[in-house]
Symmetry: C2
Subunit: 242 residues, 2 copies
Amino acid sequence: MKKTTISINVVRRLPRYLRALNELAEEGRERISSSELGKMLGLTPSQIRQDFSAYGEFGQQGYGYNICSLRDELNRILGTDRNYSVILIGAGKLGQVLVENFNQVAKGYELIGAFDADYNLIGRKLSECSIYDIRQLEEFVQENQADIAILSVPMDSAQALTDLLVQVGIPAIWNFTNVEIDVGKSGVLVENIHFADSFLTLSYFLTDKKRTAEQSNKHERESAGDMPGRSYLLPADRKGKG
Amino acid sequence: MKKTTISINVVRRLPRYLRALNELAEEGRERISSSELGKMLGLTPSQIRQDFSAYGEFGQQGYGYNICSLRDELNRILGTDRNYSVILIGAGKLGQVLVENFNQVAKGYELIGAFDADYNLIGRKLSECSIYDIRQLEEFVQENQADIAILSVPMDSAQALTDLLVQVGIPAIWNFTNVEIDVGKSGVLVENIHFADSFLTLSYFLTDKKRTAEQSNKHERESAGDMPGRSYLLPADRKGKG
DNA sequence: TAGATTGTTAATCGATTAACAATC
DNA sequence: TAGATTGTTAATCGATTAACAATC
């Protein structure tokens, strides 16, 4: 356990490690080396050992890492064992889909309430969770601990609802609106799912590839070799290295 | 126009630039300096100038950048002017939501077909787009150019459908399944929206913050100052710098 | 024991920031 | 012209990779 500050790059790899370990555990595997895990995820063994060592000494020389205990450590590090309570802000179509998939996506988290301003929705149920009037939010969070808010509202109300969430003291927002929401200096955590940004990134690489192809067509295939092309764009870091 | 290889970090900032520029254009602003744009997005002026200069000389000394022409350049770089055709694989709830929001998310792209294996869905319409039998996919792409596939299917069929997409020659996949899909050495582009990974990242920082708080409680508030705490976790790079 | 593989230190590589001449 | 601000080169900072002693 060395590094004092852990970079965002390291953090974003942790869920991927957890995913791989869950798979391995299901297959009944007992142990794995940094080098095998590296092959699975397209990372170097060095990087994997560095990443883990930022949090402790989880492996054993000559043996590798015990899959179940490493998985447990990651769950602890990520906080999936903390029984966080989640609320949904915006119970429209997207919100509904998110709730339905919620248990798949977020094992160990509990959805305790949904909020909307639409009277057609208020009073209904989403899975096992009630939809409340957004004006009841403050009251609700005074009586119930809410750790994370899922924000799935129209773009034009995103900032107003962010302000509300900050005001009532929600510590973390999972933002699905395609807006750069502003929490000021509140210290409220924001994690964005910007669909459009992700889509445009894909569009970029596709365009880049086409441009390269157009280019080499211009050069009238003097070099007839197959151009490799990026094959994987993973969030924040590349899979294969070129 | 200098750098030959452009890093993924730069690329992932481009959609954010575009978003800011669209906003500014709507406000009727004409020009902006790297330093003002930097303030908007929490980036240094240097970084912004570096990023743009990888693609060309879009600014003017003493003036800054013309908002509309910079926006146009970015659209060109990202390929939003290329009229890409998109298909949807998996017309379930998530797929439906994605299609409904598609025009908002991806202006300038056309959804030309949806595919599913469910006979309750096949033959219906999603917005203005027909849902076809997935077994017709190969035939369909022989007759229609399809540039990007949105993959929104259950986790256990994700890889099989990826294989199919690769086989029929789709060049880019926007993957919404929480699975590390494998396109082998095909060179097919993959951009992931891993909901779970994103959620766990948020959970991590929340937990991290709580741990820090617990820590400083242990130290019996000798230093009574307010701890700042990370306020923004943006994809791939941090907003405020600590 | 010998082989495997860790955790960690040092080396390398890459990305961000700073500085500044060029110029609108 | 003077002030502003670019594009780019150089300096700094940080992250990844390599190497290796420690040890299971």
